[in-house]
């Protein structure tokens, strides 16, 4: 029985001035994985390699147990993709997009597509270029959800959208995940969205995967505290993951169970974890 939607083994991709990998991780079926990292970390490169839009230099990617080296176009029926831009001809009308997709996808569900258009109030006769950013994302999502996809891949799909639209999209993704065979892999800078909905967080930094953990465990594992320099000197160095210095001491991201019980800790958000870990990694690099 196949438990993983995506399996990545030893994936590498080299560009001038940047190297991705080697990456090794799996995306389990039936969950939402938030793929985070700073700009230029390699998130889009990873997603494009999964989709076959770019060619990996080495490694293997399997989607639903099928290696993408023997890329079968029919597999794309099972994968719904939403990029940050819609990539459709600007003069194409919404209705014509549906007609094209009906020809392209063998599992196209026209009624489902029309239902989403009604739900999102997208007019049939409007051209793609006349749609707002939010409407373009909704059209993109409608396409992705209308061909019986089992895997949704979203690359910065919610960037630039207002909170109402983002909330609407998150609700749709959570509905999509009601089916335990459905999986979502979403890369986003809006970490508050992932905090609400993701099951796992995979953190990419400078082309390397720093961790992939369950979101709840991550939030339990790390905590924030603000201490003076003298107190910090008595702490286990292994407990400190990242720090921000200020006039009165330091703000620290710490590993909760390595900290003395007497120190007051506050919960760390995914954003805090990401920022402090990056700062911690960069401080180590400078020290070396």
């Amino acid at each position: 029985m196949m438990h993983n939607a995506i399996e990545i083994r030893n994936l590498t991709k080299n560009y001038k001035g940047f190297s991705l990998g080697p990456l090794d991780f799996t995306i389990p079926k039936g969950c939402m994985v938030g793929y985070i990292g700073e700009n230029g970390a390699g998130k889009s490169t990873t997603l494009k390699a999964i989709l076959g839009l770019i060619h990996a230099d080495s490694g293997e990617i399997k989607i639903f147990g099928n290696s993408t080296n023997e890329h079968e176009p029919e597999l794309m029926n099972k994968i719904g993709v939403v990029f940050d831009a819609i990539n459709l001809p600007a003069d194409m009308k919404v209705q014509e997009v549906g007609t094209f997709c009906k020809l392209a996808f063998t599992t196209w569900a026209e009624n489902t597509f029309n239902d989403y258009l009604k739900r999102f109030t997208l007019p049939d006769d409007k051209k793609v270029k006349a749609l707002s950013r939010g409407m373009k994302m909704k059209l993109s999502l409608s396409i992705a959800l209308s061909h019986q996809a089992e895997l949704l891949i979203l690359d910065e799909a919610t960037s630039g959208l207002d909170p109402v639209v983002r909330d609407e999209i998150l609700d749709i993704l959570l509905d999509f995940l009601q089916d335990e065979n459905h999986t979502v892999l979403i890369s986003s800078h809006i970490l508050s969205d992932l905090e609400k909905a993701a099951d796992y967080i995979a953190f990419l930094h400078n082309g390397k995967l720093l961790f992939m953990e369950e979101k709840d465990l991550l939030v339990e594992r790390y905590a924030l505290c603000s201490l003076d320099d003298e107190t910090i000197g008595h702490l286990d160095p292994e407990a400190i993951v990242g720090r921000r210095r200020h006039a009165f001491g330091q703000d620290l991201l710490v590993i909760r169970n390595l900290m003395p019980k007497s120190i007051k800790l506050t919960n760390a958000s995914i954003e805090d974890i990401m920022v402090y870990i990056i700062k911690g990694v960069e401080s180590e690099s400078v020290a070396l």
Binding site: E74, M76, N77, V81, I86, N87
Partner: protein, 187 residues
């Protein structure tokens, strides 16, 4: 637009232009198609659907084959009516078929390799080749006519088949090259 030009050609008694209009159209349609795709990065969407890169490449040649067939049929009709000789009409129809095929077969791999930005240069180069060819033919028109008449005597059917087969071979090679280029590309 095609109808207008064809209508003018008929009224002016210059019907032999019609097959060459069909030769010209695929180049323009190809340029428009590539231009639109470049603006919207359409292949990035396309390759997330079940449409393969090979199918995408082959679709770019459809116009040239379709209009090549139309050029052949119209060439056969027009040259047959104009010169009353089926042999001559057959050779000219085969040439009319070959012209759009060969021009598009030369252009498309370059556009895939170097991008739409260079398409203008590629089209200018193609027209330059066309212009130079017409100039040469014009200078040596008598020799060309004698050659065609000689070819007529040999076997016009054989010559026509050779021209069509040659064009199809060039088309197949071009499609193969384009497939290799597009499969290698990253989006």
């Amino acid at each position: 637009m095609v109808g207008v030009i064809a209508g003018i050609a008929i009224t002016q008694g210059a019907m032999i232009i019609i097959p060459f209009i069909f030769a010209y159209i695929p180049m323009i349609l190809g340029a428009i198609s590539f231009g639109y795709e470049s603006q919207s990065e359409f292949p990035k969407f396309l390759f997330t659907t079940p449409i393969s890169r090979t199918t995408y490449v082959k679709s770019k040649y459809c116009f040239s084959v379709l209009f090549g067939i139309m050029a052949f049929v119209s060439g056969l009709a027009v040259f047959g009516m104009e010169y009353g000789s089926l042999d001559f009409a057959l050779i000219m129809a085969a040439t009319s078929f070959a012209v759009p095929i060969i021009f598009v077969a030369l252009q498309i791999p370059f556009v895939f390799e170097y991008g739409v930005e260079k398409e203008g240069i590629i089209m200018v180069a193609t027209y330059a080749v066309l212009f130079i060819t017409i100039r040469l033919v014009g200078k040596h028109l008598n020799r060309m006519m004698n050659l065609v008449q000689t070819m007529n005597r040999i076997n016009s059917y054989l010559i026509s088949v050779a021209i069509v087969a040659g064009a199809i071979c060039i088309l197949v090679v071009s499609i193969h090259m384009s497939c290799v280029i597009v499969k290698r590309k990253e989006y």
